[in-house]
Structure formats: structure tokens, C-alpha cells
Symmetry: C2
Subunit: 685 residues, 2 copies
């Protein structure tokens, strides 16, 4: 279809909105929106199906702006199509408590699929969204019912192209032959340091070919709307490979500084704003102008999307008549509620049950619940046998032509790509029909920090199965032994960090991880065996902390997590025998969940009047909040059989008893001796 003046006007409307919003905020990135307005216009109007009145419709096409600093492009589009983003919201760009923050945030703005800005994340999120589509289609589509057939479109720039996470995700997408994924690479030759030739001279399309992508190049990205349309249409025809279209554009198109770094991350100057508007035929004195014909055009497309959703709703209704169970399953998944009765599948343990490593206990949970919780999709960054993330008889999610799995498979082989794994999981979760769980060693969750942070910020229900959680992994040594890792993630808002001490606590961790719809979890699990505790139950575990051994006459509370809880329980005897001191023991598998309990309960667990000593075989940082003194490891570990390593660092009943006695002595003169949980004021949350 030929393009006319209204198309041109629409494109320039997007551009001037970006110019006005960044100028008004005196902050932001006009360059990318001005350069990418043409492709955005073509993509959204000619290819994408969505209903702005229901941004949650499951079969909508997904759009991800991986170069999230260009978010005024996205906010302008959302406004023009009639999402819940008003002109006033655009005027409040980058202001406190607006829904138009400096980078797109999924949780706050209707129509934003995933949180982007940290470069490369959106790229990998899009791969996750595409995997989720392929999987959900394979599970739910039936003859005559192509319920799920949306595409995922993603824009990325040079910055994303340079980030390792995008490389990992691109390699994964190529391997998985994700034909439903179409990316547009904004080849504008400019990054913050100026011309990309100063650091980035590789052949990007050749690299993507090497990954197994279909590649095209549109050379006149500022003007060749037909060429853009043809390239996207061609990409849609390629169904056995992801597609990338290299689009050569001029950053800040229309500005006096177009094509330079000057227009990347700074608003245009006042005179430049005026000349841009004049150039585009807009009144230079007016701001935030949306011509009626542009609104009409965009609203017409929005209405078509609403109609498409309505048609889909009818189809889904009919589907319900013919495929009752699948209908109920999909409808339920979209509420993010879990199936009735799934909790009964969670394993529970008696003290007489054998000692088992918590990574194995985690495997038992997955084995027990995977049938009851069909949205659970497990995987590992190439540590399947070590993370124990795969249930028996799991089918791999793989392109069927590889002969090693199929699209309905629920086990993802992420390869040695921790960062992409985490961001892909964010995309899987954002799709709405999947709860992803992915494994690596706890130490290497750090490789994924950038994406883990966005799990929290964007409220994704993802589960990090983080095994080999301490010096207890033994021989692999300091390069693999976490010290700072739990402190790091406990300091991250909206993240549950679990370190279960036994089987019941492991089940509790999964219970909370699966039922917390807005919060991701890290499950720190041991390589070594752990005994089943006397005092643990699922119910106690889900409080995040509880008394594992009570003694109303105790001289001290020992507070421990994971593998150190059973050590603390042993230390009680040593303390009694060697020091004639009485101790009680608290297990605190998840401080964030414990923090959410009523204060009264918390003070029963860690009471006033006696000192508390924390015991965790890694950084003590953070434990001052729950204990008066801390026994930990504020240095790197050692390579050796784990019992030897524990002994080297005095993590033995004797080592604990010695420190407990010193603690009791140190606090004997302090009156009143308050529980560390008593604070002078509440934190802002």
C-alpha cells in the first residue's frame, strides 16, 4: 500500500512529541525516537495487532524497545494509539511519580511489555517472549484453533548490539529457530562516545548469520517506508529463523545536529526545536501537537486491534466448548493463580528421613509438582546435572527438527549464558502463561546481576535455582564459592532470597516463590547433604524464620540459615557441655519473608533480653539486622573437600560455641538488651 502525507505527518508527530517532551523535561534522548519513528510507524500500523484498551490480551503482538533510552518513541506511540498514556503524561516525562519515567518500566505504564534501558536486556527479554509464544502455542493451539500466533518485535541499537547479554540471547534464539521473533537493528553509527567506529567495527549482520538468523538491510531507514514494510513482510515469511533487519537511520533526523552524538542523550536547543518543527510543517510556537488525522489513523488501527481481540475472545469461547480442560488451564494461567490442590504435592519430611542435599530436595519438589503446575518451565545454564533442575521424563524445549525435543517441551537448555538466561526468564514471565525456573551455581547468578535486578524492578515471578551455595561446594574453590552473593541479592528490593536448611524449608521456598505473583526468588541450595530438622515444617518455613529449637531459659539465640542450621543445633550441645550455656536456635531461610511477619511474631523468634549470634558461612553483611554478633566469612574461601574447608574456617560446633560464649559474655552488662529487630524508626518502603 502506498504511503501518503498522513503517514509522513504521523511520523513527524512522533518526532516532535519526542522533541517537545525531552525539551520540557530538559532531559532525555530525542535522537533514537526521531530516527526510528518511520519504522515504528510502519511496524505498528501495518503489522502489529493489539488492543490499547486491554494491554493484557494474551495473543497481542509484543513490542520491545531494547534501546529503552529512546522511550519517548514508545510513549508517543502508546499515546497516539489510545493506551492509558495521556498528553499530560507525555508532558510529565521524567517527572517524579509520572507513568513516563526515564526508561520504560513494565510495571508502571500500560502497554510497556518489559522494563528496558539497561542495554541488551530488552533484546534478551524479547527472546523470552518469543520462546513463551512458541511454547504456549504448542501447548494450547489445536486444529482449527490457532489461539496463540503473535509475533515479537524488538528494536535495538548499537549499544545493545555490543552488550554480551544480547550476544548470548541472539545465539540462543538462532539455535532455537525462533521464527516468530523479528528485530530491527537501528544502525545509526552513533553511541554516546560518538561514531561507533571508535569501538564497534564488526560486521553485525554477518555475526547474526553465524548465529543462524535471517538478515536483511534497509539502507534508507529515514524515508524508505515501502522498503521497511517489504523487509518486515519478508521477515514474517521466514518462519524457521529469527530475523534481523539492519536499518540504516539518521539519529535525531531533522535536528541541526542530526547524525551526531550531540542529539543522542540531550534535548535539542530551543532554536533547533523550532527549526525542526518548521521543517516538518508544524507550528514552531506550539508544543505537544497531535494532528487530528494522525489521531484518527492511529485510533482506527487501535479499533481494528480491539475487533481482533473480540474475534479472538469468540474463538477462545468456542475453544472452551471443544477443549474444556485446555481452556480452563489457559484461563487460569492468565490470572496467575496456581491450580487447586497443587500444594498437596509438595514433599514434606520427617526428622528420620535421610540427609539430602538441598539441590536434590529442590529436584524432588520439581518432580513432585511439575504435573500439577503445568506453567512451570525449568532449565539450566548448562549445569543440569549439578543444579538438578530437570525432572525425569522432562521434554526439552527445542525445534522439533533437531530431534531432541519439541516446542511444547518444558525444559530449556540455556547454554553457558547466565545473563541471557535471567533476562529470557523475565521475558517468559512477562508473557503471562509461564513460570520460569532456571539454574546455575549461586556464584554465577552474579553474572546475571543486570537481569536479576530487572526481575525485581519489573515484578517478574521468576525462580533462580542457585546451587553450590557456599564454601560447602568444596573442591571447585574460591572462584566458585559465594561470599558476597547473598548480601548482594538481599540488598536488592523485591527479591526473596531463600537458603533452606532441609526438605520442609525447601518446599516452603518453592511455595512462596510460586505463589508470590509479583516477586522473584533466588533459592540458594547446597551441594552437600543436610539432615532433616526436628523442628521444621512447611508452615513454619513459609514465615521466613522460626524457632527451630526453643529453650525458655536460653542464654543466647543462634540464628542460622541453610547448611549452618544443623551445625547450630549441634553447637547447642557443645555449648552446654563445654561452656555450661543454654542456647535456642532460629532458622531464618528468608529474611525478606520474615520481615513481612507481624512484629510480635518476629520478637518471639528473636526476643529481647538475650543476645543473638548469626551463623552463615559467607559475608556477615546484613546479619546485624537480626543478631547482635555475626559469625561468617568475610574473606574468600578455599579449595578442598568441604568438611576440611569448614574446619579451616572454624565452622564447627566448637567454633560456634566459642563465639557464642564470647557473645554472651560481651552483652552480659547491657541493659536493656533489646532484640535487634527493635528499631528507632521504620524504613521507607
Amino acid at each position: 500500500m502506498p504511503y501518503d502525507k498522513t503517514d509522513e505527518l504521523a511520523i513527524n508527530t512522533i518526532r516532535t512529541l519526542a522533541v517537545d517532551a525531552t525539551f520540557k523535561a530538559n532531559s532525555g534522548h530525542p535522537g533514537a525516537p526521531m530516527g526510528m519513528a518511520p519504522v515504528a510507524h510502519v511496524l505498528f500500523n501495518k503489522f502489529m495487532t493489539f488492543n490499547p484498551k486491554n494491554p493484557d490480551w494474551v495473543n497481542r503482538d509484543r513490542f520491545v524497545l531494547s534501546n529503552g533510552h529512546g522511550c519517548m518513541l514508545q510513549y508517543a506511540l502508546l499515546h497516539l494509539f489510545g493506551y492509558g498514556v495521556s498528553l499530560d503524561d507525555l508532558k510529565n516525562f521524567r517527572q517524579v511519580d509520572s507513568i513516563t519515567p526515564g526508561h520504560p518500566e513494565a510495571h508502571d505504564t500500560p502497554g510497556i511489555e518489559v522494563t528496558t534501558g539497561p542495554l541488551g536486556q530488552g533484546f534478551a527479554n524479547a527472546v523470552g517472549l518469543a520462546i513463551a509464544q512458541a511454547h504456549t502455542a504448542a501447548v494450547f493451539n489445536k486444529p482449527g484453533f490457532e489461539l496463540i500466533n503473535n509475533h515479537t518485535y524488538m528494536f535495538f541499537g548499537d549499544g545493545c548490539a555490543m552488550e554480551g547479554i544480547a550476544s548470548e540471547a541472539a545465539s540462543t534464539a538462532g539455535h532455537l529457530q525462533l521464527g516468530n521473533l523479528i528485530a530491527v537493528y537501528d544502525d545509526n553509527h552513533i553511541s554516546i562516545d560518538g561514531d561507533t567506529k571508535c569501538a564497534f567495527t564488526e560486521d553485525v549482520l554477518k555475526r547474526f548469520e553465524a548465529y543462524g538468523w535471517h538478515t536483511q538491510h534497509v539502507k534508507e531507514g529515514d524515508s524508505d517506508l515501502e522498503g521497511i514494510e517489504a523487509a518486515i513482510a519478508k521477515a514474517k515469511e521466514v518462519t524457521d529463523k529469527p530475523s534481523v533487519i539492519k536499518l540504516t537511520t539518521t539519529i535525531g533526523f531533522g535536528s541541526k545536529l542530526q547524525g551526531t552524538g550531540g542529539v543522542h542523550g540531550n534535548p535539542l536547543k530551543a532554536d533547533d526545536v523550532k527549526q525542526v518543527k518548521e521543517k516538518f510543517g508544524f507550528d514552531p510556537e506550539k508544543t505537544f501537537v497531535v494532528p487530528q488525522e494522525v489521531t484518527d489513523m492511529y485510533h482506527k488501527h487501535a479499533a481494528e486491534g480491539a475487533a481482533a481481540e473480540e474475534e479472538w475472545n469468540q474463538l477462545f469461547k468456542k475453544y472452551g466448548q471443544e477443549h474444556k480442560d485446555s481452556h480452563a488451564d489457559l484461563a487460569r494461567r492468565l490470572t496467575r493463580d496456581l491450580p487447586e490442590g497443587w500444594v498437596d504435592k509438595l514433599p514434606t519430611y520427617k526428622p528420620s528421613d535421610p540427609a539430602i542435599a538441598s539441590r536434590k530436595l529442590s529436584e524432588s519438589v520439581l518432580e513432585a509438582i511439575h504435573e500439577a503446575v503445568p506453567e512451570l518451565l525449568s532449565g539450566s545454564a548448562d549445569l543440569t546435572g549439578s543444579n538438578n533442575t530437570r525432572w525425569k521424563n522432562a521434554v526439552d524445549f527445542q525445534p522439533p527438527n533437531l530431534g531432541i525435543g519439541d516446542w511444547s517441551g518444558r525444559y530449556l537448555r540455556y547454554g553457558v549464558r547466565e545473563h541471557a538466561m535471567a533476562a529470557i526468564m523475565n521475558g517468559l514471565s512477562a508473557y503471562g502463561t509461564i513460570i520460569p525456573a532456571g539454574g546455575t551455581f549461586l556464584n554465577f547468578v552474579s553474572y546475571a546481576s543486570g537481569a536479576v535486578r530487572l526481575s525485581s524492578l519489573s515484578h517478574q515471578r521468576v525462580i533462580y535455582v542457585a546451587t553450590h551455595d557456599s564454601i560447602g561446594l568444596g573442591e571447585d574453590g574460591p572462584t566458585h564459592q559465594p561470599i558476597e552473593t547473598l548480601a548482594h541479592f538481599r540488598a536488592l528490593p523485591n527479591m526473596m532470597v531463600w537458603r533452606p536448611a532441609d526438605g520442609n524449608e525447601t518446599s516452603a521456598a518453592y511455595y512462596m516463590a510460586l505463589t508470590s505473583k509479583q516477586t522473584p526468588s533466588i533459592l540458594a541450595l547446597t551441594r552437600q547433604n543436610l539432615p532433616q530438622l526436628e523442628g521444621s515444617t512447611l508452615e513454619k518455613g513459609i514465615k521466613g524464620g522460626y524457632v527451630a529449637l526453643e529453650n525458655k531459659e536460653a542464654d543466647i539465640t543462634l540464628v542460622a540459615t541453610g547448611s549452618e542450621v544443623s551445625l547450630a543445633l549441634e553447637a547447642v550441645h557443645t555449648l552446654k557441655n563445654d561452656k555450661n550455656l543454654k542456647a535456642r536456635v532460629v532458622s531464618l531461610p528468608c529474611v525478606e519473608v520474615f520481615d513481612a511477619q507481624p512484629k510480635e511474631y518476629q520478637l518471639e523468634v528473636i526476643p529481647d533480653g538475650i543476645p543473638a549470634l548469626s551463623i552463615e558461612v559467607m559475608s556477615t553483611m546484613g546479619w546485624e539486622k537480626y543478631s547482635h554478633e555475626q559469625f561468617g566469612l568475610n574473606r574468600f574461601g578455599a579449595s578442598g573437600p568441604y568438611k576440611e574447608v569448614y574446619k579451616k574456617f572454624e565452622f564447627t560446633p566448637e567454633g560456634i560455641a566459642k563465639r557464642a560464649a564470647l557473645t554472651v559474655d560481651f552483652y552480659k552488662d547491657v541493659k536493656p538488651l533489646r532484640s535487634p529487630l527493635n528499631r528507632a524508626f521504620q524504613q521507607l518502603i
Copy 2:
């Protein structure tokens, strides 16, 4: 030169040593050493020049085993060549306090250049070593004096090839045309999850071609010693590109399980050990056997290396006669001492000096000292103008044919590649002639966590210039505002985290960062302006913490860092006026350095008897160690002008005063009220 039976015997000696060591440890990875023994034998004996008696000789060829889990390969080689690694050390493989830990650690084992194991790190370290060579050669080589001409050789496996950090580093190396870097890709088709076809089906060599590398494939990597030799020789001839040789090998060559995942990460079974030895003509009943002719062969090569070093020493002596200053400079750099008088260049400030953002103060330090400290090599991950890492008139480190810099340039454009930047800096530092400083936003140092951890573990003097350090960055919003970041890196052992409050403290941070030969630093710097403090000096700053405002009758100590110190000083007045309370203020720019001060000094700073309130506009985690109560931000930030954001979260003199008053009230009945620095027992370090 044709290969004979001694070569074969040597290769099989390496293999059987790896088999014996992993069997004895009942732990470790025999597969990679068995597969890569042939290429290692050819590389080390035919190409590499090194002196095992002086592993620090600056012009030695460097070797990096990026697939560090195969470290028995490296330990066996070190032993055979006569480095300080005995047969007993091999027998102590993976034992507590051995010098043969589970993964190679640079700081502990003679001959190990960089710490590897976390996949992809070694790859990027090698790029750093190669950059360092090119730079050092450009600075010091003179006609007739090719002092620095070593090569960097690096082995990597499929795991490294999948990691994003290696992609980033490979793209960088291609851009930089590092002809002195030669990599061998162990194409054995096996990773932990089994056949790489389950997750990794890209065309690796094509990808490296896209990066600008020279590529070759040797198909018979188990046996074709001539082919291996020819490929390495060819790679050395290519001087304008890094080279990668894809070497198809059989993992665990010789084992009954060869070519399978079964031999990747587990020792061979006893019967397999025997049959391997029989197959290779070794006595199956003997262990750790090194035939004399192998020792002779390797020691002969080692002696040639010692002779080469002696020749080089003569050359260097002669160089000293003709190029006295350069000789002195290089000789000094190798001691890691800084030049005399450099400290006098550090800027100092008076309270009347204008308010300046600490990122700009950092720029002033670089401007002031870069001539005096020629080993300082700065750079940024594509945020040069924001990080302020580039001094005026800096020359870029670039291949001269690009026309935008040269090899002697001291400014590195890392591109948007934070993780590779950090690991490249580790390599630069490990080379021995450079102190690297690299910039990104503090929030994105997290992208580099994996490499930052190894800066600490391997004692590299690298400087992370981490700007935009808090919600004070304003409009970019929560995706860019650090909350957990400082807690994370403060929990990391052997890392100095600095958050200077003004100019003198910024100079102090650089002083400590540059003079701490074994410890990396993160400098957290503001985007927004900070006033010059009344009480600050360089001398106080380098103590890590000091009294910024004393009051012997104070009711409370306010402990703050960075941008919050001047706020705390303002709050003193508010407290006096509104609450009639007296406060003293402590600036604590670096807790790690403060921790190293005498206890007496520490207790002068944060004394007994009055409560302390910490103020830092991010996670409170860790501050319990230095204060009784904590005012911080345990949630994500907000997008908006920074003063608005500060106000939203009550980081104002009033917000501080309110909490200070609550703190005073809360502790008024506690006797004795001890400084939080008083502890019941010392931590293990």
C-alpha cells in the same frame, strides 16, 4: 620439525598426570587436559618463550587457560617445565591450602597469569594482556630495542564461547586488530549438559570472522601435531588481526568415555585409569609418573627460556644506557611503585571552592596526575562524557590505521561492554606495566560483577570509575539508580569501595586506589554538584573515615558518605533549631580502609556513649556495623529532577533530623551504649 616418540610420551604424560591428580582428589576435570595436551605440548615447546625460574619476566609469552576447570593441564605443564609446582603439589590437587586449587589462581601459583574458571573471564583477560603488550611495546620499544614483543596465547572451550563476556572481548579485540593474540578454541562438542547441539549450534568461526579475526580450523586436534604447529605459525604471521584456531579434539582422549560428557567433570573410574595408562604405554600400577626424557625435553626448553631472559636483560641494560628515562620508567613500573612526587599533583580544595560533582572532581584528578603517573590508562564503556574519564588531549589507544589514535594511546574506548571492560582491566593490570581505570555508571558495574569479583580475588590494582552513584542521577530513573550496588561490593573481600563527599576525599580515594598494589577500587561518584567540606583534607580522607564536624557534647553521631555528608552537616542545624539536639558528623568514604585503622582511632570517630545514625541514599545493608540506626533507601528510586527525588524520599535536613531525634530517644535508656565498632569477637580474615 617432525615429532617423535618423546613428543608423544610428553603428551601422554600430561594426560596421565591429569588422570592421576583428579583420581586422587576424587574431583576435577580430566577431559579438557586429555583433549588439549597435544596443542599445549606444541604451543609451549615450539612457540612460547618463558623462564620458569622467573615467572615475572615482563617480556615472557603469556598463556591463559580460559576454560580454567581444565587446570590440571596447566599445573602439569608448570611442573614439567620446572616452575615452583612440585609433584607433591600435583598430588595435593584440590586440597586445602595447596597451590593447586580447583581453578587456577594467579595470586597463589607461580606461572598462573590470571585467575580463571568462571567462564569467559580468561578470554577477556587475554585481550587485556594483548592490549597491554601492544601499548607497552609502543611506549618503550625503540629502534634496535624491541624490548616488548611477547605474544598472548589463550585456550577456550565451548563454555567460554557461549559467555557474553567473551563475545564482548572478541569484538573488542577484532576492532583493536590485536595481532599479538592467538586463541585456540577447543571444539570438543561437549559441555556439562552433554552434546553442544542441545544449545550451541552457531558457526563460531564465522562469528569470529565477523568480529574481524583471522580464523583457521585444525580438524585432527588429537594427533595432527604438524597441523597444529602450522596453524599457530600461520597465526603468528597475521599481525593485523587476532587469530583463532578451531581445534577439533576428543574430550578425555584415551578414556573409555572419551568424547562424552562423562569425562568432562568427573575423575575416571579406577579401571579406566588403568586402561588409559596401558593404552599410553604407562605402567598401570604407578601414579604420577614423569619419564626422564620428558623432563629433559621440558627442562631444555625452560633453559632456552632462561637464556632468552638473560639476553633480554642484557638488552635492557644497554637500553638503559641509550634511553635512561624510559629504562627507569619501565624498571620502576615493574616494582609497582609510583613515581616520586606524584602525590603533590593531587588536587586539594578549600571550603570556599565551588561545588563540583565528584565525577568532575575525578576528572580533575586524572587531568592533574596523568603526566606524573604514565602507567595510568583510562577508559570508559561508552560513557566518556558522563564518566569524565578522559583528560584533555588524551590520545586513544587505537590501531593507527583507523586514524583516530595509536598504540601508545592511554584512553581505551571499551564500547558498551562493561563485563569485558572489567576483565580486560584485570588483564591489563596482570601484565605488570599498567594501572587501568575504567568508567561506567555505578549501576552497570553490576553487569561486570563476574570480573569485578576476580579483580578482588586475584589482587589486581584496577580502578572502577563508577559515576551516577545514586538516585541523585535523577531523571534516568530506577533502571539506572543503584540501591543494592554498594552493599554488594562492600561485601566483596579485598575491594575498596569509595564514595567521596568532596574534592579532598576524591583525591584521597585516588591516592589509596593507586597505592594499594594488591586491591582494586570502586569509586562511586555523583552526577550532581557537591560542596567542598569544611573539615576535609586528603590526610583525613585516606583514613577511610574521619570526624567532619566535632562536638564533644553531641547527643548523636551522624555517619554519612558522598552526597549525604553535606546533607548531614545541614541537618545538624535543623536538629539544633527544631529539636534542640547536638550532633557531630562523620564522613566515612571507605569502610574497608576505615576498618584497617587502629581500633583507638575508630572509636574516636564513632565513640561509645551516644547513638550513631547512618545516612546513605541506598540500601542500608551493612551500615549496622557502623551505626545504631540507619536511614537509607531499601526500595527502588524514582525518575525525576534529583532534588525532587531526594525530597520524595525525605533525604532532606528535616528528614534526617526527624530520624536523628527518634534515634536519640530510642537509645536514651540503654546502658552502656557502646559504639557499634565494639564487637564480641574478631572476624576471620
